[in-house]
């Protein structure tokens, strides 16, 4: 757990006006990490860069928390095929609103990180996929890409090294499933965002069948920090086994909602009561969804001593997810909340797999019945049974993500759900 966070100075989005402009970014040591690599190709061979990032253990910030450098190392040896880096800026997990800050306030840090990743994996083309709703941020980000091209960081013969890397920005048109990495690849290929069966994994067969790595925007923004300061330095920030800075998106019933940058492993209570100014209207905390809709809700009494890192949250019975924390006060109706969550997943299921397409719909229908006071106690057990029928039986994790909140919200707030159910209509002899 991190205790000395009050003196922490943001690294991903530092407090520097106009940092989104390339000349300001350069004045503040921007593109130094990338230049250092290009200037010392022996010290910073592609393998060494990958190893350094692997040693830093940047846990993927898109939700899965996988070691980014390790992911890079899954790319096969270069052959005649083109190689791709696909950057996931779909950001559609409810409760998550962090990457848009990077596009708006420090886009070049991300571009530099993506360039370093592209160098390490011998990638030819970087695609940046941003959700369609973020069109204003797409336009802001496109300007940054243009600047990077003008300065010679992107394109052909980058800074005279003979290395060619293109970066193309594109955007979706409204579909949560395109945040799933292979759903995003399908969308980049101009199709419906149907997740793909794995294996083959994207490193073997990704975009148009070619080697592809997918990283989250915030994950890549961490990369220049690692190259500039070293893996050991990076490891010294945050919690054990979960390092580096994290953009915490805090929303719901707090006085000061917003995105905050602090080390991984922040005490949950400090984030809620200190950073985010406590619960609105001096109400009591009821529950927390720690990292976006899919992560299991925790009751207030489960939060004592818990910190925002994968180990602590796992022990508490949840997950880090995207660190999009939704704070819920004592007046929150958990039945209504869960019904709305199932409505979301039903709406966003891509429809490929039966357990998900049908299951999410039935979760919503049964919860609507309970919400309207028409449910019976046995419906709660039916819901729990359905979650086990859905989990692990589909191509992607959307069904799991829909099942977990149902299971954990019912189990952790069972009284509230039972209270909403009607009495048995069967006469007892």
């Amino acid at each position: 757990m991190v205790e000395d966070w009050k003196s922490y100075e943001p690294l991903i989005i530092p407090d520097i006006p106009n940092l989104h402009r390339i000349e300001v970014y350069e004045e503040h040591d921007g593109y130094r990490a990338f230049r250092r690599i290009l200037d010392n190709p022996e010290e910073w061979s592609r393998t060494n860069v990958t190893n350094e990032v692997k040693a830093a253990n940047i846990r993927g910030r898109g939700g899965a928390g996988f070691n980014a450098g390790l992911k890079w190392s899954f790319m096969p040896q270069p052959d005649e095929r083109p190689r791709y880096l696909a950057c996931n800026g779909d950001e559609s997990e409810p409760g998550t609103f962090k990457d848009r800050n990077i596009f708006e306030f420090n886009p070049h840090l991300f571009i530099e990180g993506a360039l370093i990743a592209a160098y390490a994996m011998s990638v030819d083309v970087i695609y940046v996929y941003i959700r369609g709703e973020y069109i204003d941020w797409v336009r802001i980000f496109e300007k940054a890409v243009e600047e990077a091209y003008e300065k010679g960081y992107l394109g052909e013969d980058i800074l005279g090294t003979g290395i060619d890397i293109e970066m193309y920005t594109t955007y979706g048109a409204g579909a949560y499933i395109c945040g799933e990495e292979t759903g995003m690849l399908e969308s980049l290929e101009g199709k419906r965002g149907y997740p793909r069966i794995k294996p083959p994994f994207p490193a073997q067969k990704g975009l148009w069948g070619n080697p592809t790595t997918i990283n989250n925007i915030e994950t890549l923004a961490n990369v220049p920090l690692v190259i500039n300061n070293g893996a050991d330095w990076y490891q010294s920030i945050g919690a054990e086994d979960h390092n580096g800075p994290v953009l915490y998106g805090i929303s719901g019933h707090v006085n000061k909602p917003g995105v905050y940058e602090y080390p991984a492993g922040m005490p949950v209570e400090d984030l809620i009561y200190d950073v985010a100014g406590g619960i609105r209207g001096n109400k009591e905390l009821k529950a927390l969804i720690p990292g976006g809709t899919s992560t299991p809700v925790l009751r207030a009494d489960q939060l004592e001593g818990v910190s925002m890192d994968s180990n602590s949250l796992r022990d508490a019975g949840s997950m880090m997810g995207t660190a999009g924390m939704v704070v819920l006060d004592e007046d929150t109706d958990m039945v209504d909340l869960l019904w709305r969550i199932t409505h979301f997943f039903h709406h966003e299921s891509c429809g490929q797999c039966t357990p998900c397409r049908e299951g999410t719909g039935w979760l919503e229908k049964v919860l609507l019945k309970i919400k309207n006071g028409e449910g019976e106690i046995k419906d709660l057990d039916l819901l729990l049974d359905m979650t086990t029928q859905m989990e692990g039986r589909t191509i992607c994790a959307l069904a799991d993500a829909a099942a977990w909140p149902v299971r954990h919200t019912i189990n952790r707030f069972r009284d509230e759900f039972e209270e909403r159910c009607k009495k048995s209509v069967h006469a007892v002899a």
Partner: protein, 185 residues
């Protein structure tokens, strides 16, 4: 407009060429060219989908499949302004439904409908990634209106009737004092 009358201008075709250049296949440009078409016609009804398919030399069924999969494409004509009210998770618990119901009352329509004068369409939508600024809505796939109250919504409607759209609002992190100060100057 009949199908024969639908066509992209030379400028639009040039833009489509620039989009195509980003990808190794024509198919990959589908989403973006649907956006170009929606920008032009305000919707992508079947005849517009066909125009996109024919321009990219793709099966019409493919373009229809894509257009119908993604929620931001309008498959029917909409009002001049489409108000996408988020009611998902953080917006739900911060009064998103109050905003939606207020709009429904004020405009005399329900979510999914368009006002008789053709000015407004209301839609209830899933998370738009503005959870810290809830409740919020998005105007016609464009600008976000954050931290809404009923009064703010009334003002927004009044302004939109005059053709005045809200401006992009930069949500600076509370930790970034210098940046905030600079923005306010």
């Amino acid at each position: 407009m009949t199908e024969q009358e639908l066509a992209f201008t030379q400028d639009e075709l040039d833009e489509i060429e620039r989009i195509k250049a980003k990808f190794p296949t024509n198919k990959a440009a589908t989403l973006r060219v649907l956006w170009v078409a929606q920008e032009k016609y305000g919707h992508v009804k079947p005849e517009v989908q066909n125009l996109v398919a024919d321009t990219l030399d793709l099966p019409r069924s493919h373009v229809h499949g894509v257009a119908s999969f993604y929620t931001q494409y309008y498959k029917e004509e909409t009002g001049t302004y489409v108000l996408d009210v988020c009611t998902c998770l953080s917006c739900q618990v911060c009064g998103g439904y109050d905003i939606l119901h207020h709009l429904e009352d004020e405009l005399g329509i329900k979510a999914g409908e368009t006002t008789e004068d053709g000015m407004f369409t209301i839609q209830e939508v899933e998370c738009l990634g503005a959870c810290g600024y809830a409740p919020m809505l998005q105007v016609t796939n464009g600008v976000y209106a954050n931290n809404l109250t009923k009064e703010k919504v009334d003002k927004l409607i009044e302004n939109l009737r005059k053709g005045k759209k809200p401006e992009f609002e930069s949500m600076v992190m509370r930790q970034n004092e210098k940046r905030k100060k600079e923005l306010s100057q």
